[in-house]
Amino acid sequence: MESKILRVGMADAKVTKSPGILTTIGLGSCVGIVLYDPIAKVAGLVHIMLPYSNKISDNSNKLKFADTGIEILIEEMLKEGANPKRLISKLAGGAQMFSSKINSDIMNIGERNVIATKEVLKKLGIPIVAEDTGGNYGRTIEFYSEDGRLLVKTIGHGVKYI
């Protein structure tokens, strides 16, 4: 059977079941968060841009933020038959694309996104089983809901499964 590939854009999320594949292309300072129920083989991917929704005045798109993005993703996954107690997570992204000669607050947004993501997952009791975050380069990721592999592709920094 042909596996269906679902593309997740910036501030966007998708949910699939085995053998579906979830991908997000060109992650920079944003973080791609994969949640997975390995028994039901239900997977979700959210591409967040900012740490917390309550720090921003205009938060009409809740998928922009780590906290609300993860919350919504879980809700969507439960509708597809995932069990919240079985969820595990994999993370990628959170790079600093340009060197820190410039304004630090904007430049370390990648790191702040990763920290916030981990805080939110910890609060929800969802273990992080693999991550490829930080650095100064972009990443394209593909998650295989059939077996839980996450492919991370880069320009000049290798290709790997985590």
Binding site: G9, M10, A11, D12, I25, G26, L27, G28, S29, C30, M49, L50, I56, S57, D58, S60, N61, K64, A95, M97, F98, S99, K101, I102, N103, I106, I109, N136, Y137, G138, R139, T140, K153, I155, G156
Partner: protein
Amino acid sequence: MRNVDINRLNEIYLDVLKELGNIGAGNAITALSTMIGKKVDMKVPTVKILELVEVPDIFGSPDTVIVGIYFGLDGDVKGNILFTLDLDSASSLIWNLMGIEAKEEFDELEKSALEEIGNIMAGSYVASLSTLTSLNMKISPPALSIDMAGAILSVPAIQYGEISDKILFIETQFVEGERLIRGDFFLIPDINSFDLILKALGVEVNGEQNS
């Protein structure tokens, strides 16, 4: 302070921003032309407003490799400038400037030449806007990244993401006759700086009246 709502920018704002892009880019391209000793043609700038979801697709596929040269903008007007080139255009610029045929993996010297080209162009861009508006603007030193378009564009997108679900940018393309050079300038003022720029240019801001 009254803020401009990006969702309600009307045609006048867009015309003003387009004109700013035109003047700024015109000066930047004159500087480039002087630098390489050749005539460079500029296309009419376009002001684009995109949903965040669409941003990574500006260069076609988000995994297209591009050169991005990034500057922080400070002073009265805050924000940032991103100057982007496709790889062929970056090679052409290096050829024009240094007379060497660059491979796609640029070495340190070539990267620093690209940074310097960006620096001179962005410097002229901002200087002309500063003169026009009488507002103080200065750019930070350049920072270069050669990577996936989506990853590079995530930086300005995040900055816009803090205030809106949309991103606004001014795109300017230019062409140098013998070898094609296509570059884009993204002037991304902070949302609070829009008001200031428009006022400095004598444009009435007809948003909400609660100041």
